[in-house]
Symmetry: C2
Subunit: 403 residues, 2 copies
């Protein structure tokens, strides 16, 4: 069977991205989510001429006229209504964050004045108009767009949204995802496997990869029984937006997934990709009705195959479905490396940051089954299939799985 190139496989996956709906969440539950509305300034930023140093405020004309001592007429704390300097030969004590008092236009910090008996003496020789005043509307004007739709919300956006009173925000709603393991050899984490059995691990790595993205997925297990698989998957196709399978997509006698999916009217979009690990990857879609379709990623059962395929295909699918552009990463190969098969190779690497450069150091794994090796890695360098010798210093696309 012809292999699909990694490039083409990714293209097909992205062509089948969704247009995720929106939902409203509270401000403090919105970090990491994708904003689905523009955030607009509800008034000027700052909303008033804002004192930015503790000190005194004066009318600068008196200073220009030669006056250096100013009687303190009053005090303007932050959080108090604006007061007025009544006699422009006097001054007002002002605090950071306060409104600038009426009839004043310069703030001199405490460090530059001497105060005795209610009189402030300015001890510097030059002042500027509006010094130490954060002018109304300087940062942003009322109705300016402060944050655009399709921004990933970080703590910075939270601060801006709090300032404009967005206690609830519209964000992209996550897809409903089910992760399904297959294989009679699998027992659960808290069970003791017999000699020929192993514990389920792929559903947990997938679950946690999705959790890291902010998606709360569900998991289930089905043994290698064609009729049970068919009956259960039929229901899952109705309920979920995405099914992630691990296992049963290769040539084995009990690899029923492609056949069962075909029987259930799921359209195969490709099967087998020109890559290592993860060659038997199967991808398809079921149009349930006008409004609903379900996308199926059926990853091979080997732990590293499933792990890297989810990063390489599901995450870009999800990113596009959120309305975001992918920002490709790359890293610099630290040493010569040879890989002969005509397959795109996902090389396990440790990342080292040095002088603003990202260096990828190959960590020898022992094949697609060697999950334990990933513990020493930070990501995968994607080495193209049409090359055999990869040279120190060359730059290749990078896929990471640590924050």
């Amino acid at each position: 069977m012809e292999l699909t190139t990694v490039e083409k496989a990714l293209k097909i996956v992205l062509e089948n991205s969704k247009n995720l709906p929106t939902e409203t969440v509270s401000l403090t539950n919105s970090v990491g989510r994708v904003l689905k509305e523009n955030i607009v300034a509800d008034r000027d930023f700052p909303p008033f001429n804002r004192v930015s140093m503790d000190g005194i405020a004066i009318d600068i004309q008196t200073f220009i006229n030669g006056q250096r001592t100013f009687k303190i007429e009053g005090i303007q704390p932050a959080g108090s209504p604006q007061i007025t300097l009544l006699n422009t030969e006097n001054c007002v004590e002002v605090m950071t964050g306060a409104m600038l008092p009426k009839n004043t236009n310069a703030v001199i910090p405490y460090e530059k004045v001497e105060i005795n008996n209610g009189v402030a003496k300015i001890v510097i020789k030059e002042l500027k108009h509006f010094q130490n005043i954060h002018k109304k509307g300087l940062d942003r004007k009322e109705n300016d767009v402060l944050i655009s739709e399709n921004t990933i919300i970080s703590s910075a956006e939270i601060g801006v949204m709090a300032t404009v009173g967005k206690s609830e925000v519209k964000v992209a709603k996550n897809p409903k995802v089910l992760i399904i393991s297959t294989g009679n050899e699998l027992v659960d984490v808290n069970e003791m496997p017999k000699e020929h059995q192993i514990r389920r691990s792929n559903v947990y790595t997938l679950l946690m990869q999705l959790q890291t993205l902010g998606i709360t997925a569900e998991t289930t297990h089905i043994n290698d029984d064609k009729s049970v698989l068919k009956q259960k998957i039929e229901t899952f196709l109705e309920i979920y937006d995405v099914l992630l399978f691990s296992g049963a997509v290769s040539k084995g006698k009990f690899d029923f997934i492609p056949e069962v999916l075909a029987d259930l009217g799921v359209k195969k979009l490709f099967h087998k990709v020109q890559q290592r690990p993860g060659k038997p990857f199967w991808f398809g879609k079921k149009i349930v009705d006008n409004k609903k379709s379900t996308v199926i990623f059926a990853f091979p059962g080997n732990p590293v195959s499933t792990f890297v395929s989810c990063l390489k295909y599901f995450i870009p699918w999800y990113t596009k479905s959120l309305g975001l552009k992918s920002t490709p990463k790359s890293a610099i190969l630290s040493e010569d490396f040879t890989f002969k098969p005509q397959l795109t190779y996902f090389l396990q690497v440790k990342l080292v940051e040095k002088e603003g450069k990202l260096i990828a150091v190959p960590i020898a794994g022992k094949g697609s089954g060697d999950l334990a090796n990933l513990v020493d890695c930070d990501g995968f360098l994607e080495l193209p299939y049409n090359k055999t010798n990869f040279t120190k210093g060359e730059v290749y696309p990078l896929i990471t799985f640590r924050k």
Copy 2:
């Protein structure tokens, strides 16, 4: 008052890190946490000679002797007890993940055999001993340490822990943190501020910076009233491990925090740092009793000051308290930049990744009050105080706030 250098301030903060206790959490709640036990292989990895391709298993000696056709004697699925090849001139069909049948030592994939009427014919000329067999214990031996204490748990570690049956894991327990805003000018997010008021935003940025780290903090607000501050902070010192203040640490008439903390027996470790923004930053510690101390980070009230100071000081404090080493980041300045004051300058930058290099592009902000500018940034480049001209291509330490 003498300013503390950024370097010395950070040193003092780190000297006052805690030794966080541990707690046990379920596997699926452990991502992002710091592991506080070694994870050990409960058996060999793989636990048996594991078939790694679907195909047939034979005794290779027969092939060496010239035999090419093999009667299929049985089938060995994944998840079934090991069977035995009874007649070594026959073969067994084997599935990926299965135990290798007794008396066999090579697996030939279906692609390299033709099967007719229950007889498999091998169509390749060379075989290797133990080909397509993932040998017992090849990856790791029983009792090998698979993951060391003090590893940050990612989806990769989850897979390994699932495999060895760790449904619960020991991790570092997060400190109990309270975030306190002060300032009479502040109203809450869902309130409509009067002309001289603004909404609270710093508690939310801090809360979300901590949430991104996995810390669930609490927040409160106290107005600028010395006796109320004193009474409330006294209680907080008993309850929390860390207090994060925002505001009231400068020279204003209502900047009561340093005085109130001194009254409550909190030892000032430094006040005012040679940096912009965030110069008025105050840091101290209260020894409550033998077992308990509380660390106080009192950040200036300006939004960007609080924002960058939490990243620069609290996060390394937390990292060290978790038992981790900080991994310093750096980036390459994209254009010449001048900053005259003798202060370490936290320059707001957008990051661009190019050919494995991380480029930092300065984004002009409008001072420490301009929170909205951060929306266009990814981090801060830390420019040293003892330099004025910063040249394109130079590398400086980087602090980031997006994932």
